[in-house]
Symmetry: C2
DNA sequence: CAAACAACTGGACCGTGGTCCGCTTAGTAC
DNA sequence: GTACTAAGCGGACCACGGTCCAGTTGTTTG
């Protein structure tokens, strides 16, 4: 419960064996290093296993899938991010009006994307994005902000829709293919949020 | 040029050899049949090749990738759809105000998704979605409608953002995991469009 | 019809994500 | 220390998307 990013496996309650813990650490640091060195897209699971000095079976037993491993590597940063928007300073944290918090949330996501898009892309691969606990937290946060700003809208659906605008694949496309810079994307997000909330009562 | 859904290969101008044409047809009809029978997600490229009575090499030479094959199978429907929103009757085609056309566009996409989500998911796999000609057409269409309704906004960016709300992966997640029905999704889309265009001058 | 060539063909081959299962080892009870 | 057991281990194995290339075949030219 303390770390929302571990195994897909159901928590058994039994403590982790020491060799298992050691291997998990080995894997995580090897993965972190390789992802950094070669770019997440160019690292195979076999390489990670070898660099960590464990068998492939162990790697998959611990992390279940490539996407899951990428997510685990990101989990520290993600935990900090969650802290910021749940209990941190305004405008990200409580205190600012919901529209501003939402704008800040998206801008923070875009900043993360700008530095870690490869890793985030790997973490979103397949259905992984939506099944990942982090997504649920983001969704809940956005839903609550929307409700706070505007009780009338279908906040749940709108939250997923807004988050779709912050997906790694879209981000990469907008940057690489369409050549849009980060400021433009941030401006677009602010505008989208403004409009999504401006429609109240019209 | 007549069919925007063929090979990723550059058009050479030379006519297609008759055996090649025959094989393309074989492949397409085998793929169509298998996708229908077993669901697009459960059909491998080897199966398609075998059912079509051609080698795997031929299959990939013709269609380049799994995503591309799925797109080719959808191309007929897509062509009809493009016809409808470019030259068809209102509210999809020209004649209706842009907001209504946009609403109708999304609803039509959602209808297509409801019946062909598996195929569309396959067609969107990887970067395929954004590199596919059909996406460019949709993007252009939405961009023009946005500009028509509101010259001030960053129409290009907003178009991609709106289209992200109509992706197959999101659709499947909203339906299967979140349990939202088609009408709710359509309502959400209409609302999103209304808000996206209601912000003018605020 | 023959010659010549480009396009096409098919299946062996490869890399990668992911699974399986017989063996090993850390922890526990006595 | 010994015996027992469940958790953990690792590498052989599998499926699938995609590539390669040596051989074949349709088409064109004279």
């Amino acid at each position: 419960m303390s770390d929302p990013f571990e195994l897909p496996v159901v928590e058994t309650g039994t403590a982790e064996r020491t060799d298992a813990a050691r291997n998990r650490e080995r894997i995580l640091s090897a993965a972190r290093r390789l992802f950094e060195e070669k770019g997440a897209g160019c690292v195979t699971m076999d390489e990670v296993a070898e660099a960590a000095g464990v068998g492939k079976g162990t790697l998959f037993r611990r992390f279940g899938s490539r996407a899951s491993l990428a997510a685990a590597v990101l989990s520290e940063r993600e935990r900090g991010f969650q802290e910021s928007f749940i209990r941190g300073e305004p405008p990200l944290g409580p205190g600012a009006p919901p529209e501003e918090r939402l704008a800040a949330f998206g801008e923070a996501m875009l900043d993360t994307l700008a530095t870690h898009y490869e890793l985030l892309l790997a973490a979103e691969h397949g259905p992984a994005r939506y099944t990942h606990p982090a997504y649920a937290v983001h969704r809940l946060h956005v839903t609550l902000l929307l409700r706070e700003a505007d009780a009338e809208c279908d906040a749940e659906l709108l939250a997923d829709t807004l988050l779709a605008a912050l997906g790694a694949e879209l981000f990469i496309y907008l940057r690489e293919v369409r050549g849009m810079d980060l400021d433009r994307l941030k401006g677009g997000w602010r505008e989208t949020v403004r409009r999504a909330l401006a429609g109240v009562g019209v």
